[in-house]
């Protein structure tokens, strides 16, 4: 009886070790709290702003090109 109990105890401790190996730390808490969406929103605002700016620059350059080709 003692031997079987000991074996079971050993098995349980090794199972615990196996479980720990898969326990890689990820930002799951941040995801479940929903705060990651704040970060996504902030980055999206920056990205939208920069891309819009790039489109605006492109448009302005096109007008300049038209003016420049009309002059020459």
């Amino acid at each position: 009886m003692k031997k079987i109990a000991f074996t079971l105890l050993m098995l349980l401790t090794t199972l615990n070790i196996f479980a720990q190996e898969n326990n890689v730390e990820m930002a799951d808490a941040m995801r479940s709290d929903g705060k990651i969406y704040v970060v996504v929103a902030v980055i999206l605002i920056i990205l939208f702003g920069l891309l819009f700016y790039l489109f605006a620059l492109d448009r302005r350059l096109k007008m300049l090109e038209k003016k420049s080709s009309a002059k020459n």
Binding site: N22, V24, E25, M26, A27, I36, V39, V40, I43, L44, L47, F48, L51, L54, F55, L57, D58, L61, L64, E65, S68, N72
Partner: protein, 218 residues
Amino acid sequence: MSKNWWKILGAVLVIYTTVAGLLLGVPHLNILNETIRNLYFHVPMWFAMIVLFSISVFYSIKSLSSKSEIDDLRAVESINVGIVFGVLGLVTGAVWAKFTWGQYWSFDPKQNFAAISILLYFAYLVLRNAIDEEQKRAKISAIYNIFAFPMMVVLLFVLPRLQSSLHPGNGGNPGFNSYDLDSRMRAVFYPACLGWIIIGYWIYTIRFRIRSIENKQL
């Protein structure tokens, strides 16, 4: 509008990969943890840089045979934009290294050779500014560029693999090949590369158009 479809495609791809890159599932790996997501942002910088430098070397070869100033200007401007992407790649890599390797700059072969390849292109710009005569400048800098390009490829893809580097994908370190099996990451990584390459090409066309207007007015 129809001529600008690729600019919209680039913008949509970059926005999609930013959202999906932050929210979609990734493999759980030790040491890397969530920084595995840097694959979607740091690596496309290098791809964009390499594409821009390839465009540059194409126009350098072309300018040697055509002797046209336009080809020379295209070669310079694509290097100007490529350097910006390269510096962004170096800086994002250094920040990542601080939190995974412990130091911003640990003189890892991959870091050193990447820095040297950026310096090669700084030297290109210095060389250009040192020559006043335009045709001579176009010819010498085109030849320099043709030699710098294979050097950059060797520095980034060959030499770091011959030494032990900590960079993911080198030696036994988990890298692109092991993530490649993960289709979730592939669905974000490839569009991210394409998107940033398009954005880089777009900025290059803007710079080239400004340069050619300036050139006309002189």
